[in-house]
């Protein structure tokens, strides 16, 4: 059953050192404010699960909080490479990380299998692909009906999933609109679920009957953080800060510059700053 908490309390009560955690959001609705709170609290030895590690995990990896990353596309979308993640993989800086690499199709279906309570995802994939050789989690099963050999991977079952959404009702139901990505599956696959939202409204009466809604009893904590997805975006509220993604390429290229940026923009701030960051993007 959900409760409304401050972001600091929501993170403290639900994310523990050593947890497997997914901060999901497919380009849209990436829960940056929640990740920054985890960084401020210094919660470490995490297994980070996410289709596209993106800036959000580049920051957590660069701050040394990750021991393992499970992913399918380690790029800065539309810009290039993730330089802090590369530094960890290529030079073990600031620490070595273990990587478990999949395709997007595999990751999406592993969340779906987790949400379904299944131990594995089965799909037609990885045909001729070398990832099969370097990721021991990629196995195969034979269809008992047709004899077709299919790819099999373990379901994702994060200890915690964090997502950002447009609205919560006063009761704690959560509405997600636009590019919905894998957030519903990531939430339902996890043992605990924390949601940051732009705003709370009295109820969802009179809306379209097929909207993507997570009922309040599937969520552990909700924190209201306007702008909480920045520099990602929230459909209907503010646009993606593409310039910030371009800037990140420079900031992340240099260890010292990265450290001072994180100090100024994450460690010495709080969640309230996100509202000011999206003012020019509304």
């Amino acid at each position: 059953m959900t409760e409304f908490l401050s972001l600091a309390d929501a993170v403290r009560q639900n994310l523990k050192p050593g947890d497997a955690v997914a901060f999901e959001g497919f380009t849209h609705l990436i829960p940056h404010a929640a990740a920054h709170e985890a960084i401020r609290q210094g919660i470490s030895d995490l297994t980070l699960i996410r289709m596209t590690p993106d800036i959000i995990y580049d920051q957590m990896i660069g701050m040394g909080l990750a021991k393992k990353v499970v992913f399918s596309y380690a790029g800065n979308p539309g810009v290039g490479l993730l330089r802090r993640m590369r530094d960890a993989i290529e030079n073990q800086y600031p620490r070595a990380i273990e990587t478990v690499e999949h395709s997007h199709s595999a990751m999406a279906q592993a969340y779906e299998a987790g949400a379904s309570g299944l131990p594995l995802a089965v799909f037609r994939g990885y045909l001729g692909a070398d990832l099969k050789k370097v990721n021991p989690d990629i196995k195969s099963v034979t269809c008992p009906f047709t004899g077709e050999e299919l790819a099999a991977i373990p379901a994702h079952r994060p200890d915690v999933s964090f997502i950002h959404a447009q609205k919560a009702s006063e009761k704690g139901d959560v509405l997600i609109e636009g590019i919905i990505g894998v957030q519903k599956e990531a939430a339902l696959a996890a043992k605990r679920v924390v949601v940051t939202v732009e705003e709370v409204v009295p109820d969802f009466e009179g809306l379209h009957p097929n909207l993507c809604i997570l009922p309040h009893w599937t969520i552990d904590a909700i924190a209201v953080v306007p702008g909480g997805a920045h520099p990602s975006y929230t459909h209907g509220y503010y646009a993606r800060d593409n310039a910030a993604y371009l800037d990140w390429d420079k900031i992340s290229a240099d260890r010292e510059l990265f450290a001072s940026w994180m100090k100024d923009n994450v460690l010495n701030t709080g969640p309230e700053i996100f509202a000011t960051r999206v003012e020019g993007l509304r």
Partner: protein
């Protein structure tokens, strides 16, 4: 038509390969530009799908990422990512997958994962994203990239996305039923696989390009078709459409900083 750059020729030649009836899974970068030029010129009803779940999208500017908001706002429908990969891609509803590449070999195998050894890479590239299954589940695959010896190589370091493997019937031997790479468009030429060996063969040189220029920027010894054609130069409409699209895109992406 007077001046145009090799990159413009590449994008426009790629756009021409797409038709109104195609359902196209669009990679970001050069494929995205080509697909939208096709939509804005000769193929207004082409269905463009991005892996963020947007089906039938019609963006006014090119997205910086595959999940930009405009892709959703202009789409016929936006579905979840698991649905995208299961019902639409694996379900066999997509006719063309359009991919870029960091490293490519003569059989259309693509590497976007690592340069060097996987465990101790010289360069860690972003990885496959949706490409491994796009390469095997779409009806056929188009590839576009700018020619360079370091990207068109004799042997790729990692098979991110399987093309024709070692050539011949290698796809069928792995149980893959789709056609795989059927077209390669570079900044210098148009290539198609040999019907038997599946090795990419140069069929058409872009205007002003010589055989030597194509060979000098490619890491394997190239096969040229017996009767080489010349790619028609971009028309006024094609070039204006591409340049306007890129100007709108530049203005939009630079204008969002806070």
């Amino acid at each position: 038509m007077s001046g145009f750059t090799p990159n413009e020729m590449m994008t426009i030649a790629a756009a021409r390969a797409l038709s109104n009836d195609d359902v196209c899974f669009v990679g970001i970068g050069a494929p995205s530009a080509a697909c939208n030029v096709a939509r804005l010129t000769h193929a207004p009803d082409i269905t463009l799908i991005y892996e963020s779940g947007t089906i039938g999208t019609r963006p006014n500017v090119l997205p910086l990422s595959i999940g930009d908001g405009e892709l959703c706002e202009t789409a016929v429908s936006t579905v979840s990512v698991p649905e995208m990969f299961r019902y639409w891609l694996m379900g066999g509803r997509i006719s063309i997958g359009f991919l870029g590449a960091a490293q490519l070999d003569r059989f259309g195998n693509i590497n976007t994962t690592v340069i060097g050894d996987y465990a101790n890479p010289k360069v860690r590239l972003p990885g496959g994203g949706g490409a491994p299954e796009i390469a095997s589940s779409c009806g056929e695959v188009f590839i576009t990239l700018k020619q360079a010896k370091r990207s068109m190589v004799e042997k790729i370091d990692f098979f991110t996305s399987f093309g024709h493997g070692e050539g011949g019937d290698h796809r069928q031997r792995l149980g893959i039923t789709t056609k795989g790479p059927t077209l390669l468009i570079t900044d210098l030429a148009i290539w198609r696989p040999d019907p038997e060996t599946k090795e990419f063969t140069v069929r058409s040189l872009h205007p002003g390009v010589t055989r030597d220029m194509v060979q000098e920027t490619c890491g394997w010894t190239i096969r040229f078709a017996d009767s080489l054609e010349e790619t028609p130069a971009p028309t006024e409409l094609e070039l204006t459409t591409l340049r306007d699209l890129q100007a709108r895109t530049k203005a939009a992406h630079e204008g969002t900083g806070s």
